[in-house]
Amino acid sequence: MVEKLTINAARIREDFPILKQQVNDKPLIYFDNAATSQKPNNVIDAISNYYRHYNANIHRGIHKLAEEATVAHEEAREKVAKFINAKQTGEIIFTRNATEALNLVARSWGRANVGKGDKIVLTIMEHHSNLVPWQLIAKEKGATVEYVEIDENGELRLDEVHELIDDSTKIVCVAHASNVLGTINPVKDIGRAAHRAGALFLVDAAQSVPHMPVNVRDIDCDFAAFSGHKMMGPTGIGVLYGKAELLEGMPPFLSGGEMIKEVHTTGTTWKDLPYKFEAGTPNIAGAIGLGAAVDYLQGIGMETVLDHEKEISRYALGRMKEIEGLVIYGPMDVDHRVGVISFNLGDIHAHDLASILDEDGIAIRSGHQCAQPLMEFLRIPATSRASFYIYNTKQEVDVLVEALEKARKIFAR
């Protein structure tokens, strides 16, 4: 049996210069990782090295720097392809972020394939980015959008999944892990149900790829979208994975330079995958930074990342549920969730809570979490959310619990 690797958080924290600072004279406790993660030195250095030593436009230049930049950019694509087990690098399309990747599918595939009376199946826990693009396409085409609801544990009602998906369903779009509830959805099962009905299956992997092993071929999804900045990479770079045979049949999303084979006044032909979907000069530094982030995560191992976050979550859930008046949304079983904990404390508004925690150097998110339909479903205006990554520790959770107790007492006055 292979010995299970555990994370030495103190050593890992050395790799993240931002974590060394004080906020309001207290050590920074960064619990807003579901919004964006911090960046390790190797990512910061990779971006800096590109700009210092081989900044050039890619694919077209013949000179030395252009060649180096092109190689680095395409190496990053290969790293991402391997990381999620895509069949080929052409299936990895670089976008600005997960939102743009999802819009690409909705605008390109959706516009060409969704028609009047068709159905698009989403879940009530989708982030606005996997919801609004589909609402727009549905409106444009006269299609309907239906939502799978959740049970009292914050888990999808699988009976509804099977009820809602029928012959009129064109695509089923599901978050792999919820950015509010933390719930890990059974995407393999949902994908099978979608395919049985002849529908495509899209996974919003923005909250899963950074935190757990994700194998797109094992899931057998047709599309997957995620952002670089939530997985230690820079902002401005995201990924759309799509099965090559589908991407090949899809019309371009954005058009212009870089994505064309031949342009004539009478018409234009497109480049092969993935370039057909990458118009204009791409975010070269961003892709290189994302490649470095993949290197960093693979150096640790995604099983190890997941285990560490489970351990922190288990500890945090145990301690937080002891706080008087604190309500946690989402599964209490750490095997069904990622390290995202949404909660409310008594009748304290989430923004007030975030302000009080900020006084103690603790960064959490508060608000509707870009999931207003879920807030409506839960009948709450907002939540506070603490979300973890590999550099977080149980000691930091202790400080959070103390600060929550302090907030409770301030508002009990």
């Binding site: 508004h349 923004h351 302000s355 205006p381 907002a382 508002f411 006055r413």
Partner: protein, 135 residues
Amino acid sequence: MSSDIYKDIILDYYRHPRNNGDLPDANVRAKDSNPLCGDIIEMQLKIGDGKISDIRFKGKGCAISQASASMLTEAAKGKTVEEVKAMEKADVLDLLGIDPGPTRIKCALLGLKVLKLAVYLHLGQTVTEEVKRLV
């Protein structure tokens, strides 16, 4: 047990808001929300002879937004419409007794924006860009 921005007075107004609820004989009502956090404030005013004779507010949101709206209703009562039009950010900060900082200032100013919207509505005047930009 210190918290810089959650002074007793703010929590007191949040817990026991003054002038909260409907004003049945109001002759102007205005409502707005902060899209960033969903705070909502509605103001109901009775204005006669260019003067605010009575005012109530209703709302949902954080302590800063609700307390500042409540404090503003007290400050506005008896003022002329011109005096309300002249009120600014500093007046709200004076009422609160704190500076909530750059991210929370919008919560504090929502009440002022809605109060001014009501006055402009009553006067039939176009709302200024300055007022629109408060939140």
